[in-house]
Symmetry: C2
């Protein structure tokens, strides 16, 4: 009776006012973004500044992301664990860059029970410090390596400017923390995870991303190198969607994580860390959403197919049995289906609501359809309608969902291609950012002065240095200073 | 190549000293308990007082608990969501009993970034207050009811005396929070969850439990009624393993959670909340463990079957292929299997290690076994050996695992039955607690004076008032004061 999938049904406000006009994307992207979140009940604002509540519909998307990512993390040999929420202040202070980067963002516990604490405890802004401490207890020999541990956890960073899912005081994420015998192994892990993130986001979220290295200025506080994947949102701004850090021996040296190597010599381990967060839900909204609301890729949609019975004539005797049969067939085919039999709403209202909520496929069944043994299918991505024999649903719908997944990816891929431009001069560069948005590929001298100047003057930052640049030296002039370039990089204004 | 199940392999210390004698249970139960946790790498002590790290082997058990519980929660119509970690102090203070019960245990965030906060934020000791606030925004009409939301989250309670898994400053749990139109519906939900918890713990953890109501003294701070399940650990002490609260209108009145009822009248909603936590891992250890270490029920064992190849003669050419074939067959049969091919350890060492780690079934394959096409199977619960044809493994092992699950339950059930006694006089009562341990069933007058006196003099508390007592009035004298009894209750010393 009750669907086993997480449906928002029991918490949907039955108030008809719910489906209101959403501010068009082109009119005000930021307003469109927050209106979608509120109206589709993905999340709500908490009473504490910068914090949000992830409502069941939003959390169900996160559960699918977790499930699909966790499978990949385990398939690559990692195991999950759980480390404490609190980190003593002295631990955070051990790595100089790390404390400088994170201490402005830390929420501090100073009182426990009725007593003032002797040492303040940070609510984890990331877990390198506490995990480093534990690893130094656990790792003795090369035989203990590699250590491949991941955790799913909540993170707190005291942010000044927040936006639901994209930047919130508290968010959910996974953080991998690995230890290796050599730099090369750690680097291999760093890039393996980067590739895994790219494949995950493209396959499951239908969002094409660039993968590459961050500049020193943009890297993680404490890392030797940071790699990231970057997507282009539909307003032309870039979004960092996952990072993978080669930590070198920065943390192993300060936390004394040493192992006896194969030649009986004591060595510091080489580490990596990497994570993706609930920010990915924000990326889904901004990549695929349109003026009618969300368009969810079927792989992570809480409801993949909604069946709306058309309440005409003796529909309860004719349409409902056919709809129930269709629901059963789709469930057996492994489809997350919701049969919307609510009587207080008209079919038209339901169409609008499920469109807004981004359900990938709608199946309409009316009295005439039952007579002719068919149903009307409407894709959310293209809004195209087709009719299909009722007895073909089990065979056709899974393939159709895959087609929707692929077409959302293709659409986003085309958008990214059309919004990636090359600029050779600084005037061209500024013109593209002002008139065309998107990624700007340009040569860069490698200097922070140019990086800073460009940021100050255009608000664009270097999103990535593509991976291949090490092998292919570039020739030409820096787009900013005109000196000899060291790399071809991707700039963009970013979230 | 890498097993998809969470195996502790990559983080097991390869140091042979790992398998040392564990202090016998009968000699020192508390020491036995913490030694098992450390030596099997379920958890480790964190550097902050009262906090622990759940290591991969322990976390893998928790993941199975989560998965099996989450299925039940969703099957009963609930959806998951995520509410903020922090709760403003003023919110906690709204419900008088609630603040009195929890404020001594709260960790307080007083500084965010560089700034002193205007209002202290509690790190959630439970989420009724913040969820109540959000529900008051979301619920308007009877059409919005019931609200059936659950969250998986971390919880912080500043405990004075801690013990890994049983009572830690931070722990993981699920907390359900529901709203209903009537008291009766809320009560139905409360008891439905209580029954679900009992069925879960008995079916998946193989631990028999009593279910019933708590006395006023033992109930949740803010609840109208608290129900709980209680298990009997193998040292004869009781452990509360899950609670389900009927909150009445205590929180809806202070958080103003009102709805327009079917007669257009404004009413306060009726609420429930309920939870189980990582404490369940502690229950597994204390219910089933023996002097050789853990005995994990197959349903939640990270590794259900370990295959140990016997390294004799040309074992690499003969035994390994047979072991790989057996591994493949068992994987196909849906068994979580680990083939232990490590060459730095002897088979005997591996037997001891996997016994200590509680792997339910060991399969030994040696050169002679390969010749005769068979394998030796050793059950962890009874240590009984049997031989089985290699080609029968796929068909027989899943059934054998179910048999181990059932026999662990049966053993615990017999233990509980043998350690549940009735006492009619206070002398009998004290004698049982001193000499026989376990549950003591006695008549009680319903007075807190007797409850307090018994606790002070014997350290025993009323664990439960059985559910059926409302229907069957009792006749007799209170075990403590001799006045007319109101209920037959279960006493025990408890964790």
């Amino acid at each position: 009776m009750i669907p086993q999938i997480s449906t928002p049904e029991c918490i949907v406000s039955k108030d008809e006012r719910l489906v209101k006009q959403i501010t068009p994307k082109t009119e005000d992207f930021s307003r469109w973004y927050v209106e979608i979140i509120q109206k589709t009940e993905l999340a709500d604002y908490a009473p504490m500044k910068g914090m949000m509540v992830i409502r069941p519909y939003g959390y169900a998307i996160w559960e699918h992301i977790q499930r699909l990512m966790d499978q990949r993390i385990k398939a690559a040999g990692h195991v999950n664990a759980y480390f404490p929420l609190f980190i003593p202040e002295s631990f955070l202070q051990k790595e100089a860059e790390h404390v400088e980067g994170f201490s402005p963002q830390v929420a501090w516990v100073t009182v426990g029970g009725k007593e003032e604490l002797e040492e303040r405890l940070a609510v984890r802004p990331t877990s390198e410090a506490i995990i480093g401490h534990m690893y130094s207890k656990w790792i003795k020999s090369w035989r203990d390596l590699p250590v491949l541990i991941n955790q799913w956890a909540n993170i707190v960073r005291w942010e000044k400017v927040t936006r639901p899912f994209l930047r919130t005081t508290e968010f959910l994420w996974q953080e991998g923390h690995t230890c290796h015998e050599t730099y090369e192994e750690a680097q291999k892990e760093t890039l393996l995870i980067l590739a895994m993130y790219k494949e995950f986001v493209e396959t499951e979220l239908a969002i094409p991303v660039l993968a590459g290295r961050k500049t020193w200025r943009e890297k993680f506080a404490g890392a030797q190198e940071t790699y990231a994947i970057e997507g282009l949102m539909s307003d032309g701004k870039a979004l960092q969607m996952g990072t993978s850090h080669n930590l070198g021996q920065h943390f192993s040296k300060v936390f004394d994580i040493r192992f006896e190597d194969r030649g009986q010599k004591l060595q510091y381990v080489w580490q990596t860390s990497w994570g993706v967060s609930t920010r990915l839900v924000g990326a889904l909204i901004m990549s695929h959403g349109d003026d009618s609301g969300l368009r969810l890729p079927p792989h992570v949609a809480p409801i993949q197919v909604v069946i709306v019975p058309i309440s005409l004539g003796n529909w309860k005797e004719t349409v409902i049995p056919a709809a129930l049969a269709a629901e059963e067939i789709l469930k057996k085919a492994g489809v997350r289906v919701y049969l919307d039999t609510r009587e207080e709403f008209t079919p038209g209202w339901k169409f609008a609501e499920h469109e807004m909520r981004g359900v990938p496929l709608r199946i309409e069944i009316g009295p005439r359809d039952v007579k002719s043994g068919q149903a009307v299918l409407v894709r959310r991505d293209t809004m195209k309608r087709e009719t299909l024999p009722l007895d073909a649903l089990g065979a056709k719908v899974p393939a159709l969902l895959e087609d929707i997944q692929a077409s959302l990816y293709q659409e986003a891929f085309t958008f990214q291609a059309q919004n990636t431009h090359e600029a050779r001069t600084y005037d061209e560069f500024k013109d593209i950012l002002d008139t065309k948005r998107g990624f700007v590929k340009s040569l860069w001298c490698g200097g922070e002065a140019c990086e800073d100047k460009i940021k100050d003057e255009t608000m664009a930052t270097i999103r990535l240095i593509p991976l291949e640049i090490k092998d292919k030296p570039v020739h030409g002039a820096c787009v900013c200073c005109g000196k000899e370039a060291k790399a071809l990089v991707y700039f963009a204004r970013a979230y």
